[in-house]
């Protein structure tokens, strides 16, 4: 049940926290950083009453480590941070990926690099969210565009994390995080909440990475009597270190395959794409401006449409590719110097010209700016 049922004026960060509580969050470790701090503050207030654990750790690295430790001990665990903290979390995000520890990380993006503009929005971490930790690894990255979607996608993030035993990242930004909207949160009974599969304890000790049980082995949670060994080293199904060879390749391919083999993970929303001559691909707060821009364009007689990746990773490449074959051009407005555009260009594969509209002055891209790009493409 939400902390306060019924309609209420709510901030994106609070909605993320509520979504986590709805998912059964039982452990949060954080570290103060603008503009994500409200998530930690909200959970510091509300987790204890639900018997959950809130702790502020000594640094960003430790908070990610504590989240993974708690997850391996059976908790539904989350942390929240922003740019500089997200950089520090990469080390143990990789550990979560290779040890298959389900967890959720919220990154409220702010203008970087480094300390950058701490209170200004940005979409500068799109590639970092996919490739930030070293080595190949599976990850799902979700981008909400409204306060209500902060709630929905945080709940969804836990479900995906638990189902696939992977870390899931939620990318918001300073605008979405601090924006207040009227939301009505759903009743707890109406929500689908997934929990990780655990081996049958009656059957005796199970192997921690028993890939014979499928590509997502049931999780041998600490204290359940499995005497599981968990390591960041490449390991075999017993969890023991393995050397170079087929077992290493099999592990890395299985991990990546957890995401790649599930096209149902891809979520994208489309507006007016059926007859579109100009396609706009935009995420998060930029998609809000883009949604307005396509309506303005249509009022001028330009058939514009919007595709909004809700999962940035895995990217909705098939949909973009399909639409690219029948539009005059694609506009990609981004609050960075060109990150998602690389993926759009890749999947479009030359079927349509792709135009980047970058903005990195720390301010939101306006509908008029997107409209300007749409007009340019429409004029050809």
């Amino acid at each position: 049940m939400p902390v306060k049922p019924g309609a209420r004026l709510m901030q994106g960060n609070e909605a993320c926290a509520e979504g986590a509580l709805a998912a059964g969050l039982s452990f949060f470790a954080g570290y103060p950083i603008t503009p994500s701090t409200e998530i930690a503050e909200y959970l510091a207030e509300h987790l204890p009453a639900r018997g959950g654990v809130y702790i502020q750790m000594e640094d960003e690295i430790a908070s990610m480590a504590a989240v993974v430790g708690a997850s391996l001990a059976g908790a539904k665990a989350m942390t929240a941070t922003s740019g500089p903290g997200f950089s520090l979390k990469q080390e143990n995000l990789g550990f979560a990926a290779i040890t298959e520890a389900p967890c959720v990380v919220v990154n409220v993006q702010r203008q970087g690099p480094s300390t950058g503009l701490p209170t200004s929005p940005s979409h500068g971490d799109l590639m970092q969210a996919r490739w930030g930790t070293h080595g190949d690894h599976p990850v799902v990255v979700l981008v909400p565009w409204s306060v209500r979607e902060c709630f929905d996608l945080t709940l969804h993030a836990f479900n995906v994390a638990e189902r696939l035993r992977i870390p899931v990242v939620i990318l918001t930004d300073e605008v979405i995080a601090h924006m207040r909207e009227k939301v009505v949160l759903p009743e707890a009974g109406s929500l689908v909440v997934e929990d990780r599969a655990r081996p049958d304890r009656a059957a005796g000790p199970a192997l921690p990475y028993d890939d014979r049980q499928g590509d997502v082995p049931p999780m041998t949670v600490f204290g359940d009597g499995h005497r599981a060994h968990v390591t960041g080293l490449i390991h075999d199904r017993r969890g023991y270190p393995a050397g170079p060879g087929p077992a290493t390749e099999a592990l890395l391919k299985r991990l990546q395959g957890k995401v790649d083999s599930r096209p149902e993970l891809v979520i994208a929303e489309e507006e007016e794409t059926a007859d579109a001559e100009v396609l706009v691909v935009a995420i998060g707060c930029v998609a809000r401006s883009a949604a307005r821009a396509i309506r303005l364009a249509r009022a001028e007689g330009i058939a514009a449409g919007l595709l909004r990746p809700v999962t940035l990773w895995p990217f909705p490449g098939e949909r973009v590719r399909a639409i690219a074959g029948r539009v005059r051009g694609i506009v990609v407005p981004e609050m960075n110097l060109g990150q998602m555009v690389l993926e759009v260009e890749r999947v479009a594969g030359g079927r349509a010209p792709v135009h980047l509209y970058p903005r990195v002055d720390g301010n939101l891209i306006t509908p008029e700016e997107v409209l300007g790009s749409i007009r340019e493409v429409a004029r050809g």
Partner: protein
Amino acid sequence: MSTALAEKYLRVERLPHIWCRGCGHGIVLGALVRAMDEVGLDLDRTVVVSGIGCASRAAGYLNCDGLHTTHGRALAFATGVKLARPELRVIVIAGDGDLAAIGGNHFIHAARRNLDLTCICFNNQVYGMTSGQHSPTSPRLSLAPTAPYGHLEREFDLCELARAVGAGYVARAAAYNPRAMTRLLVRALDLRGFSFVEVLSQCPTYFGRRNRLGGAVDMLKWQKEHTVDVARAREMDPAELEGKVVTGELHRAEYPEYTAAYAELVSRVKGETGR
């Protein structure tokens, strides 16, 4: 160690271990096993957490839940494990570089929090896994591949650090005396709170050879000749203690334990919200 003890507490299928001939870490692991047995730890309810380095491989040999984490972060991971399931016994194994350099911040704050963890530092004064570079506990002017002209920094007294930041129990042992080490580890495991045991271990392969200290036996003799039990040390004047290492139970204090304090907070909050 008896075969029965080894078969109960170690993953014998993983032996022989990876440590070099003459390394002290096997002695420390043996003492830990004896201490675990004496305390009667339930292996199904025990988690051993470690970081990266020679010492951290010990977690992979113990026959309980084991978590071999990232370099320096063992205490931070252990904090999550313990808070998620306070009924589990959590033992943290770290090397000196792991604990005092890259993991120094976590060490300070885990001790200050007085979370119920038993932290054991296998101090061999070098980064052994990467072939003997100097660590925060390398003696001043000692030689290492990364200090070919002598190491300029002073060595870190980890026990003094742990005491200063609020650990509930602090002790130092040496590999030459595994019986004393076992006794100290038993007391550390019995304490509800953050207990810290530093164990002097020897690295003849890198530290010993580079500094011309002889083999493992010579290094163990050095430990015997240069360590002083804390009871005797109290009667010695500072001049006599120069160049000596004090061993034994160095500090014990009653502080509120974190998981107990958190459980109280939860019941207080639930009581308030229930009204």
